[in-house]
Structures are given as C-alpha cells and as structure tokens.
Symmetry: C2
Subunit: 446 residues, 2 copies
Amino acid sequence: MPKISEKIQHIQQQIRSENHAMAIGLLNELNVADQASILKGLKLEEQIRIFQELKEPSRVFEFMPLSQQVSLAEQLPVAQIIAILNALDSDNFVDVYKRCSPQLQQQLMAKLSEASRQTLKDLAIYPEGTAGALMSSSFVSLHQDLSIHDAIQMLRVVAADQETLYLIYIVDEQDQLIGVVSLRQMIQASPETSIAEIMQRDVIYAKIGDDQEDVAKTLTYYDFMALPIVDEHKKILGIVTYDDAMDIMEAETTEDILKSGAVEPLTELSLKTAPIFTLYQKRVSWLVILVFGSLLSGIGIAHYEETIAAHIVLVFFLPLLVGSGGNAGSQSATLMVRALATGDVEFRDWFSLLSRETLVALCLGGTMALAVSVLGYVRGDIMVAVVLAISMLGIVLMGCLIGMSLPFILNKFKMDPASASAPLVTSICDATGVIIYLFVASKLLF
Amino acid sequence: MPKISEKIQHIQQQIRSENHAMAIGLLNELNVADQASILKGLKLEEQIRIFQELKEPSRVFEFMPLSQQVSLAEQLPVAQIIAILNALDSDNFVDVYKRCSPQLQQQLMAKLSEASRQTLKDLAIYPEGTAGALMSSSFVSLHQDLSIHDAIQMLRVVAADQETLYLIYIVDEQDQLIGVVSLRQMIQASPETSIAEIMQRDVIYAKIGDDQEDVAKTLTYYDFMALPIVDEHKKILGIVTYDDAMDIMEAETTEDILKSGAVEPLTELSLKTAPIFTLYQKRVSWLVILVFGSLLSGIGIAHYEETIAAHIVLVFFLPLLVGSGGNAGSQSATLMVRALATGDVEFRDWFSLLSRETLVALCLGGTMALAVSVLGYVRGDIMVAVVLAISMLGIVLMGCLIGMSLPFILNKFKMDPASASAPLVTSICDATGVIIYLFVASKLLF
C-alpha cells in the first residue's frame, strides 16, 4: 500500500532471478508488515524457503493473513512453528491452531508448552464470531491497593508477554473487573499514589458471548485502545484491541458491500487467487434467485401483449421507465443500508424516514417525468407524453419506497438488511415498473 | 450503539418532561461518548441548555460530529467556546474554527491565547483531505541523548497537553525525525539507558501533502497507533492517530458505498436530518445520466421492432435475459471495486483478472443458459430454446467483462473506480444485452 514499491520490485526481481541471499538481505531491511506483504505475492515453496531465513519470522508471521499463516504452518518444521506460535498473540495463535490439519494439531499438542496448551483450552471453546474468539488473553491486571511506583515495577516484569501495556485493568480478590488505568495516567500521577485513587471505575466492557461486530463498534464508538471482555460474573477474561477492531470492521464492511452486489461473502479469499469454482458458487445462487424477479416482469409484459402490439412505441420507452425505477430504488436501498450499518438511523426510524423519502421521490419522479414526457411528445404524441409522465412519477415513487423498505423487511425476517442488494431491488422494481407502465398505458391509450 | 439504551430512554423521558435537573444528573453519570450521543438526538435549544450544565463539556464536545460542534459553537457564549476549543486536540480545533461564521471567527481570534492563534496559523493552511489537515500538532518529541529516566520525567511535565504519550518521536538539532520509541519500550528498558540505544530508526512517516486516505491506509497496514507527518526536510510537524484513521476509513467507505449505489456522497450529513433538497441533488444527476443508457436499450429494441412483432414470445424473455447480464455485471463490478479499495488487487492485475473472470462468466452463463433454454422450450419451441441459450451465454459473459473492466476504465480517465455503480453497470449491460439477444434472434428465427 505505501509507496515503497521500488524496493519491493527490486526484491521481487532478485527472487525471480533466484538470487535468494540478496533478496533476503534486502527483505530484512524492511518493516515486518512490508516483508509479510512481499511474501504474500510469492509461491508457497518460495515463501517457505525465504521465510526460514528472515531475521524476525514471528513478527512477519503476525502480519500475514490467516489463510497464509495456516498454509505456512502446515509446511514449516514443527519446531519452528512452535517457536512462532508461542510468540503470537493468543487470539491469533488460537485462530491458526483451529485451522491446522488434525495431524499437525496432534503434533503441536504434544510439543507445546503447558501454558500454551492452557491458552488453547481457554480460548478455543468460544464460537467464531463472538468476543471470546476475538479476544487475546494477554493483558495486564493489577490490584487497586498497589502504589503507582510498585505498579510500574510490576509492568516492567510482565511487559514482554503482553499485547498492550497502555491500559491496565484493576481487579478485586475474585478477579472481578472494578477499574481501569492508563499507563499515561500512571506516568502523570505521583509515584506514591495508590491505583485506587486514580483509576476510572465504571469500566465499559463487552461480554464473552457478544457478537464481534458489536465489540468492534463499541470500541470505535468510545475511541478506546482496548475493550475488556468479561464472563457472567464480571471476571475479566481477555481484551480486544483497536487493531483487531479495525480488521473486523473492514471484514464486515467488505461482507456488506459484496452482499449489496448480490455476491456471497468471500471470507479470507483474494479475488486474485480464489478458486474459479468458489467464485462461481458465491455468485450463481443469487443470479438464479433473481431470475424469478425477471420472470415476473416477463409475465407482466405477456399480460399486456395486446396493448404493446397496438402501440409498439411503448416498447421503446420500456427500458427507460423500468430502469429509472430500479435506479432510484437502488439509491434508496444503498442509502438506507449504509445508514443502518453506521448507526446513523435505526429500525424504529423507519416511519419518519419513509415520509421524508416520499418527498424526495416525488421531486426525483417529477424531474424525470418532465424529461421523459418531452421525449414522448417528440417520438409519439401528447397522449404518449401523458402516459410516460404519469408512469414515471409512479414508478420512481414506488422504486424509492421499495428500496427504502426492503432492508427493514429483511430485518423483520431476521435476515441481514445488507442483502437488499442493488440487483435484488432492481429486479423487484423492474417487475413493479412494467406493471405500472403498461397498466397506465392500457387505461389511457385506446 | 452499545446497550445502555434503557438509561438513555430514561434520560430522554426526563428531558421531554422538562425535568432538566434530573436529566443532567443522570447524563453526568454516563461515559462522555454516550453523553454526546444523547445530545445529538435533541433540538439545538435543548442541546445548548443541557450542554452548559455538563460536568465535562469539553470532553463531550470532542465526541460530537463536526457539524454539531459547529452549530453549538455558534450558539454558546464566546468565553465558554474558547475554553472548549483550547481543550480540544489541535486537529479538531482547527476543523471547528474553519467552519465557524466569519463573525464568530473574528470574535475568537481576538480572545484566543497566543499559542492557539499560532496553532491555527500553522494548521489552517493545509488543504482539506491532506495529511496536514488531518494531523494534530500535539505530540511529544525528544532528543536522542536523553536517558530513559530523564525522558520519563519530561513526559510527566508535558503529559497533560499531548494527544498521545505512547509514541515518542526522536528528533535531531534541526527537528528532523530520526527515530521513534514507544512508552512501552521506555518502561521496559533500564532507566540509565539512553534513548538512542533503544529507539527504532527508519521510522515510517507520511508527508504533509499526502492524501488522507493513504495516511489512514498506511496506519492500519502497519497497525500503528500514530503516524508522524513530516515536511520536505523530514521535520516532524504533527501526528495522525489511529482513531482519526478509523474515522477516515469509515467516511471513505461510506463514500464508496454511496457511489456504488449511484448516490453522490452525503459528507457529514445524516439521512435523518439532511434537507430534502440536498438528498434530491445527490441523486438526480445520476438518474438523468442513466437515462441515456436506457435510451440505448430503447433504440436497440426499436431497431429490431420487426423481429419482435414477428415473435412476440421474445418480449416475455427480454427482462430475464437483459436482467441477468446486468446482475452478473453488478457482481463483477462490486467484487472488483472492493478488491481495489482493500488493496487486494491492483490496476496492473487487470489482465490476469480478466482471464479468470472469463472462466467464471462462462460457468455462470452456462448454468443460466441451461435453465433459460428449458423455459424457452416449454413456452416456445426448440429454436427459441437455442436462441435463449446462446444469448444468455453471450449476455452474461459480456456483462461480467463490462463489470470487471469499468472500474479500470474509469481509473484510466482519472475518475474514482467506485463510480462504477451497480445502476451504471446495469444500464450499460442492459443496452448490450438487448442488442445481443435481438441480434441472435433475428439471425436464427425466420
């Protein structure tokens, strides 16, 4: 992403010309994120060969996408994998472990340290998509009666193993979360103060079973660096950090966007490397489902075959009228789905939004009606112009109301409002549009 | 967003029943982010009345959207506004100031402290959308020859005014950026060490004129907490923090999504409160532009009027065939625009993606051709089935290639690839579909 592409191209050239020593020397000078990004572009055999020569393999491993981490893990010597896994944050460690082959899992289980086995047991039980599966178990918790001076001394000791030192959670004797202190506050306070004096009580937290998207939203909503995750007794079990939240938000947004284009989410897959058949699968079901919408349009047309045959000029305007309804509807659905996703509107706002949308739709429909009636008058006569104007106004109005309502209706049926994709809205609006247009025409033209 | 809605409803009730003392008492118990969120839902007069009674008005102000900050600033007593602005991070401070009315700006200028006036002068010059406009000028920079112990003492002194203490930038005599140290590293190192020994050289930074979206991407790519912003002499001028990056990413994503639905971005506006006329403006131009696509379809149909009149059964299948091409094309465009936005693919991958897409399209088109030919045989005859199958294959293939190529073509013409909206792709594919279908039919049916 950032502009170090010349260096990258140079390294890729070295690799292509089998000049591995040179390539590895250059790689090791880069930031670990860039090293991971270069490895991603290589064939698996090359990845393995180069990865083993890196100066900080565990830190590079951290920046790889999960799918690549797993395929590397399957190929590397077990001893090296164990060293790498031990260095990973616990949430990532568990994610990789869960996706390894049963054989590798067995080998790992036999050789992992007791502490790592415990982490696995603790974290692997939480279902995917929950706060529990997202959280890391490496966080700092201290007791409230420590002085700041002693607390900082303790931080020195545990620092190396923890994902973040910047938020320290304060617990009572039962490990229940009772406060939070930032390292910044500790640095600012005088060393003799006790933690209890400066800690913030009333900590905001998430529950272990909460949906990961909600956790990410809470974190960004409060601009926190980390959010503590607790069990039903308010005992702190882990933390979710802002970088995990950013990844989740990006993944969830991608999922919503693909749904808006009538594509099933391509979790963890790259468009460049996903198998052709998988891409086919993610798309074919929606294409087939949408056929039914188009068939409805076809039936509408068949029903008014006589009207069409009598006034063949109507066919010329059919795509224009029907398309405008679909376009206006897609706009409404897009606005609505996004506003729901960002929390700008909520489901209970539906009614007030609908009345606002009606006004917008009347303005849009009015403009379009005016434009199309001029075209109709030029190509047909005054009656055609009237038919077109009335139909356009009705079609755009109906399209907007459908586009705005569909996300809410899907939600009522416990489906994701983001499934109100442009193609779905378009195909529903098309059928409605055909019927409105030909109905108006059959009534007004003789 | 988080589930404290009972408390919120309770407070809203108190406000509605004019029970202000009670409402303010309850409000002050909440987190500042929640206080801001409740204020957002109130009328401006109520906001002002309640805001002035809050315990930590400056911190609540920080969590408000910019538009609300500005409208509050215009109404509050100047003395209070100055207190609040002084407490804000410098990037936010400048944003608010820039949007105030000229009268208020004049009043503020007369009463702001010398330091704040300097900040304004320094930051207000950077154009919107650049790293300079996004950055905050409150960061910590130290010299490399300090010991860790002395450095921590210095942090204590400056702590209160800085946006983050967690990354400390190291500069030479010319204020040039030469390293970075995290507070975490400082806590871990022994107090006598010098900063030079533990600092990371080779700092990743952005330039003052860089696009804000690139800055946000760099920050998330490296999982940094903050990114230093430098001038052409590598002198550090400010930092951009992860929470700003998250806001930018969300805003840019929203912009892309609205474009994908053929709506102009509604920057900073809520769907609930945006003026009707603004919503109309954001949508009408695309609806009118798309008319031309539909007119092309109409012209296609008019050209083959005789074929249609001779085989009226063709009209029944028209929406189905044409719609499928549009749907497949929307899918391709959605996949491509998203993959470009996340950095999964780059423009130079176009050719290899096109050949993969051709394979996917042939599979999709084959499936759809099979399905539609059965329908065609039932409703027409074997020849109709053949026409439908050939057309469907051609239309889906063409739709996919158009959907995949349009984002690249837009980029070639220096337009945003996200403008390859579903409605645009659909209307281009519709016209192509009409022509393919009726051309095949006119050649095969006599």
